[in-house]
Subunit: 304 residues, 2 copies
């Protein structure tokens, strides 16, 4: 086993992931837990981190690089923001040192868009971008990063020019659990219904103003025509994603290729959504991207 | 005091209203309670109604006409639907008699749009429409009926040609209570912020695909620029209403006048929303409309 060079941590709102990495960027050990910012704010950030460092036998001198919500005002140490237009290379130069720790622990800043008409913030996704596009990225990219709060990012020559957050994932969660539509999706099994999903994506993409109406049709359709709870769930999901895609793609020239940074079920869903609109995507795994971004930043800070 | 001729009841999902009415349509007594369909389904519909009838000393022979969710499958007696295109005059001909009651109690049907691409249902709003437009209404009207589930109705010569339900009110409720935006609106006072509201209406109307993004700006704006919880609340409300208006007005010719059937706070909000878009509205009070609709139907059934 090679010598570890640093520890990389993706510390989100509700999840914690840690990698022990060598000088060449190879992962020597990994930890995953649900001790995200919300849990760690109660348990104590330092203690949570120490327990995972001990579990992977991280040497006492080993530095730690963190990205994500641990750097928020309500997190461990506020890591501030780099303002748009934000060159990706600048992010790793503004990592905030956590005070009072024997070990060198730094948290990467987020990106802020201080535009009174389109204020926006990201924290964690900038590191995914770095890992997905690289430090020396040239040319333009339209990037879709689906999630609880999906981010659409317009990158020009390695610089985040503009981005928009869509509450798609969180809306799906509350609409399917907390509204009258919970009756329509109750008991839905895991069976996919790609036809219902893609039809809803297309309908919402073509008439996004009707999203709040298309959601309701999931219930009306069941009342008048029957239909499975799974089909209703796919209608909700497809409607919300279709409206997001209408907005995200609205500024792009036709036939623009979209870089999709996603993992697991979300990667599958968004690929099907883009396919329904005949938009080509290049998929980059989100888990890989954030680890690569952290490694690139750590290497730049400590091993160069 | 004149003799009562019938009892009119608007029995919604979460509210119950009863009026004792004379032959000329004058209200002799009124009852309001929160014993809507959900509460009455547990307590028993017949008992709830009897207690209110006793409270207004309704004679034993007096007939009762009901509209609203009491006629739903999950209500008292299923009153069915009239299908679109639905002449308003047909509604009062298809009232369902409640069996097993000494008194003549009837429930008005709802309206169903059995269109596989735009399935939709209403129950209660058809009676408001009847009261607002009258039995002999001629000409076309575009009607907006805001609420938990707003209805937009296209009426042609006294016939409901087409309608769409928007989950605007329910979305506002869950988004402001159950998502990350609850942090942005926490502690909002009742102060109106018409400027924030109208700016959000216009932004969402002009770019409805961005609604899920515009909602999030309520939080980003606070993080980056400050701002009151009340302003954030008005941004949420304005965004959801602005997107609804974009859809509702999308099929109408420019300068169409909209008939707005609403009461109280919703009437004020929607008037301000239409004003932000320079759309003229004719306001009809929703409480008056439903009582008038019930009276017209009761008169046609029992006193003609």
């Amino acid at each position: 086993m090679t010598e570890p060079a640093y520890v990389a941590v993706d510390w989100g709102t509700s999840s914690f992931r840690l990698w022990l990495v060598d000088r060449a960027g190879h992962v020597l050990a990994e930890r995953r837990s649900s001790e995200g910012m919300l849990a760690a704010a109660k348990a104590g950030f330092s203690g949570v981190l120490q327990s995972h460092l001990a579990a992977v036998d991280a040497p006492a001198h080993l530095p730690v690089l963190v990205c994500g919500m641990a750097g928020a005002k309500t997190g461990w140490v506020e890591a501030g923001y780099v303002d748009t237009p934000a060159p990706l290379a600048v992010i790793l130069k503004q990592a905030a040192r956590v005070p009072g720790e024997a070990r060198d622990i730094r948290i990467l800043p987020g990106i802020a868009q201080r535009d009174a008409k389109a204020p926006d913030v990201m924290r964690g996704e900038e590191t995914q971008l770095l890992g997905a596009l690289g430090l020396e990225s040239a040319g333009d990219a339209l990037v879709c990063m689906p999630g609880t709060h999906s981010k659409w990012v317009c990158v020009k020559d390695g610089t985040v020019a503009h981005f928009s957050t869509f509450m798609t994932g969180e809306l799906f969660s509350v609409v399917s659990r907390e509204t009258i539509l919970s009756l329509a999706v109750a008991g839905a099994d895991d069976a996919e219904d790609i036809a219902s999903f893609q039809a809803a994506v297309k309908a919402a993409h073509d008439a996004p103003a009707f999203a709040a109406n298309l959601l309701f049709t999931a219930r009306s359709r069941q009342l008048l025509f029957g239909g499975t709870p799974a089909a209703a769930r796919e209608t909700l999901s497809g409607t919300l994603i279709g409206a997001e895609l209408a907005a995200g793609l609205s500024g792009s020239v036709p036939k623009t290729s979209v870089t999709l940074i996603a993992s697991g079920r979300l990667a599958t869903l968004y690929r099907q959504a883009f396919e329904a609109l005949s938009v080509t995507v290049a998929l980059i795994d989100a888990d890989d991207a954030v680890r690569r971004g952290l490694s690139m930043a750590a290497a730049a800070i400590w091993t160069n």
